[in-house]
Amino acid sequence: MEVQHKILVLDDDADWLELSREMLAQLPSKPEVRTATSGKRALAMLDAEPFRLIICDLKMPRIDGLQVLAIVRRRYPELRTVVLSALEDEDFRSRAYALGVDMFWLKTEMQGHLQMYLDCLESLLGRDQDGGFRGIQSKGLMDIIQMECLARSSTVLRVTRGSLVARLWIQDGELTDAEAEGARGETAFLRMLTWKSGTFENLPAEPNRERTIFKPVNALLLESAQAIDENDGSAVEASGETVQVHRRTVWKLSLLARAGAEFVVAVPPDGQGVPEALGTEAQTVGQYAHWTRRATESIKRMGDAVDAGPLLHLDANNLERRLLLIPWEHKNFLVGWSPETSEGLLEKTKKLVASWDS
């Protein structure tokens, strides 16, 4: 027997809720649609009955969408979450993704891309039932690009690695343009292929985008794979693992110097390896790592108590330096800066941390 999923739509605009009902009635699986005009009401409904998906507005009086999502992600981790907002602000988008939402969609994009929106919702509703997969952790960026091109897709692939953002324009299965780390075209494409992990999302296609890449995508992927293999191979041939470790250390020191940071301590979870540090004395590494662990435990307890969502970062200072603590891929990074550094400190730290294990 086919299961009828339930969708909860949360928005303080009653007209929009009515419009949402009409739109969601077009979904092939014909889900039951319920609505709420306040965060409190929505949470009460989620407590009372199981839902498959919540579509949540951000800007609402009293308890806003971000707070609702922070609570929802903690209380109902299985619930699919979609943000539908009129706020065209990258900060809100990244905050929503930091909370673990499945999809962020702009209301302003709705008119031209309604079918794509409904397809995404249908996919979110049916994933487990249809035996599909959620997440693509085992696939690299090369695989994702190949899949998009083989499927003859037209899309803009937005790839994020910490604060690094790259975009790939694919039109009818052909790679037409790329942007990454200030570069454009083939250079940008090859640069982003060195990223080992990150998140990606499909944005609506931009068919009028100026074309800068003319080589076939397979030729570019092959070139990139050969370059990566040659780099790895030469390091191993020279004198094995020691050379690779040395190269990694030199690379990280150059990152540290370029960014202008005083030190970095990368702290893995308890029992999962030793802290890695550069730029600080050996005896202080243990102290910094210990504080980082204790601080993140305290912060987690605080965040859970007040339903504030996950930690994005911690910023602290004293007379000697400024400190930033950032969680990144199962590790916590403590980065020390001189007290004079203030301009774009958070962005610099995010870039440093995102490049650390590249």
């Binding site: 009401r41 971000l66 809100f92 504080w291 605080m302 965040g303 108590a305 930690l311 994005l312 602290a316």
Partner: protein, 104 residues
């Protein structure tokens, strides 16, 4: 008010969820709240938890020989900024929501 609540059953229909705390609190070295500008509707127990965890964080920084003058914790929907005061601390709570300006 109580009569209306009984008729419309609003409290029963809503889950136990409160608005994010906004304002400032001062805690002594034992983590007890000395003064507060946070709405009295916000549970005092939760504010005490915040106070105690902030003090623990500042204390651990002393132990690690990097005493901190000020610390800002940026959660997804709340920013907590604390300054150490003679063993205690003054703690500012800023909701970071779509309705309030987000600051880094």
């Amino acid at each position: 008010m109580g009569l209306l609540k009984n008729i419309f059953g609003s409290s029963a229909a809503h889950a136990a969820v409160t608005q994010l705390p906004s304002g400032s609190i001062t805690v002594d070295r034992a983590g007890e709240i000395v003064s507060s500008t946070v709405s009295s509707a916000y549970p005092a127990e939760l504010l005490r938890t915040v106070g105690k965890e902030v003090l623990a964080l500042l204390h651990e920084a002393h132990v690690a020989q990097m005493p901190l003058a000020e610390v800002s914790i940026h959660f997804a929907v709340l920013r907590i900024t604390a300054r150490e005061l003679r063993g205690g601390a003054i703690i500012f709570l800023f909701p970071q929501t779509a309705l309030s300006p987000i600051s880094n």
